[in-house]
Amino acid sequence: MASQEMEQLVRREYKEGFVTDIESDTIPPGLDEGTIAFISQKKGEPEWMLEWRLKAYHQWLKMTPPSWAHLDYPAIDYQAISYFSAPKRPEDRPQSLDEVDPKLLETYEKLGIPLHERAALAGVAVDAVFDSVSVTTTFKEKLGEAGVIFCSISEAIRDYPELIKQYLGTVVPVADNYFAALNSAVFTDGSFVFVPEGVTCPMELSTYFRINAANTGQFERTLIICESRAQVSYLEGCTAPQRDENQLHAAVVELVALDDAYIKYSTVQNWYPGDEDGKGGIYNFVTKRGDCRGDRSRISWTQVETGSAITWKYPSCVLRGKDSIGEFYSVAVTNGRQQADTGTKMIHIGEGTRSYIVSKGISAGRSNQSYRGLVKIGPRAKGARNFTQCDSLLIGDQCGAHTFPYQEIGNSTATVEHEATTSKIGEDQLFYCQSRGISEEDAVSMIVNGFCKDVFQELPMEFAVEAEALLNVTLEGAVG
């Protein structure tokens, strides 16, 4: 984890007294037009934004939750969720680490999270723990010099309405799917990035998503725009404290790349997966989509998914621009009773477009995992190419891995390759390592990390290190 950045963040927040005005009201659970008006007003939004939200809300009312995914969870009562929560008041939170579940602290320890950050992550009443309130406003000055805008989406709506009007909802339309519509109606925060023409963003941008208030849905909205020849690398990392009730998370991320632009979006996701019986984990229904709008543009998704009780997530690329490139590198790990239905969509529209998919799924315990990937090649996408590699690794004999590849090829000049393997973590491999004196646990971690290497090497350095640590913690006790 970028401890330095976090440190600066914490200090800055504290110094600026960011804590002062947030003792604001939480509204009771439930969703109607009043809820949306409340959120919009709380965020100080202009009238057009409220209208946009209400339009989404009315769309959502007409929709039904998707049932095609290979997931099994009880129906969600959307009226039982509270859609806006201010952070808990300090006196309601644990007063010190002594009051925090020791098991959770143990996990932080193993992940090598710095002490002060552990307190923040565990919800201890120190500075800089916010729910639904963005903490991504650091380094603004340096970015400002480069002309890069990096702020919360709420600020962007107030300060850059023209950009928001031009781009919001153009990659993921409000009625795209059930969860996207819900998000559009009630999103409370998220990040906004705008990199102007010809600028390479001078630093990697990162944000931390955390869920700290019990029984609160999280609806982030992220919008990243790279103008012509602009470049940005965006890092998203998540850790969550232990909770008893299932928590809904339905984020929307939209990326827009114009001519020759490059957006790299990396995620390490480690939300609470629930206890051994699967109780209490996060439900994660995310819509992430990148639009390669310009010629020779490139969008790259890299994700390491280890958390959540339920994951429903398909970071996708729409390859509109000529010779544009979409990439998806994914490691998904499920253990215990976790369920994940994840994959990607590569929609080839422009000529000479290329896409690469490398998906590594690791299932352990009694978990279930599906890879679902669509490669669609339109009639105008002459000479389009896709390469998909999709590998599953099973640990133990009570878990499941499923692959659902979909291909829709609309012209005869396209080349589409798909390779898939499913292997059980080799007893022979384990024996080989152990017969060299390496413990079973270390051997598993070594083999699994090797299996994921193609994806890890796509991650920015600090994330790669964190990802390995995460993997080891997630798979602890998975064998034997």
Partner: protein
């Protein structure tokens, strides 16, 4: 150092070893020979602790310890190391990483800390030179895309780095051309030491032209049917295994 007494082993309900006894002392090189299916590889696999082999009776002790009570990695850490006939590939795991992990596991068992990087590099460089391997091997994934000869050399390289008390080599000569066999044999010979036992499992005598054994045992139908010195191996080369089999049956 190694004592195997009246060992009976079944695999998937079928008895493979039927009362095998063998003693290997420090400083000795033993060659286990025999026709296909006699149980040669079973012996080294059972000593190393491979799953799927059920010991129905008999004992294995190593320096006084009951080997059958030990976990796989404990056996390795105690100093028993198996060189595989078919080393497995581990995609994405660098060869050098495995070597280092194994060496550090050994050091940890001896109460030592991790080996400092410069010391490790120095050690590895001298050992790969000894095995006439290119340094690029270290950066490649364990055994992935290695030729048969490269895999075998890699097994010996691990032995040279880990310096076991008992080196067990299962058909280390199979699939090797003559040049590769020489390199492998040189590696094994450099392992010969007064405080080390070596157990060679081989089907062919030709390996024993390069590694001269102190003792040769012929394994027939799950038992040692005949023991002798290197002359026995030569006799097997010229006469084949049938006469031993017949002698045993008689």
């Amino acid at each position: 150092m190694l004592e195997v007494k009246d060992l009976h082993v079944t695999v998937e309900g079928k008895e493979i070893l039927k009362g095998l006894s063998l003693t290997v002392n420090a400083g000795e090189v033993h060659a286990i020979m025999g026709p296909n299916g006699a149980g040669k590889s079973t012996l080294s696999a059972v000593i190393a602790g491979k799953e799927g082999y059920e010991v129905t009776s008999g004992t294995i002790t190593f320096e006084g310890q009951d080997v059958l009570e030990m976990e796989i990695e404990e056996r390795a850490l105690a100093g028993m190391l198996l060189g595989f006939q078919y080393p497995v590939e581990i995609p994405g795991v660098k060869n050098i990483y495995l070597l280092k992990a194994a060496l550090n596991a050994q050091r940890a068992a001896n109460g030592q800390g991790d080996i400092p990087a410069p010391e490790f590099m120095k050690l590895i460089k001298s050992k790969i030179a000894e095995m006439k391997m290119d340094a690029s091997f270290l950066q490649r994934a364990v055994n992935e895309g290695f030729s048969g000869g490269e895999k075998k050399r890699n097994e010996i390289l691990q032995m040279l780095v880990l310096q076991p008390k008992l080196a067990m080599l299962d058909e280390i000569d199979s699939g090797l051309d003559i040049d590769a066999m020489r390199i492998v044999a040189d590696g094994v010979n450099s392992l010969r030491a007064a405080d080390r036992g070596i157990l060679l499992v081989t089907h062919y005598q030709r390996l024993l032209d390069y590694i001269i054994p102190d003792h040769v045992h012929v394994l027939v139908d799950g038992r040692i049917a005949k023991s002798g010195d290197k002359e026995l191996a030569k006799e097997l080369e010229s006469r084949g295994y049938d006469w031993v089999v017949e002698e045993t049956a008689a």
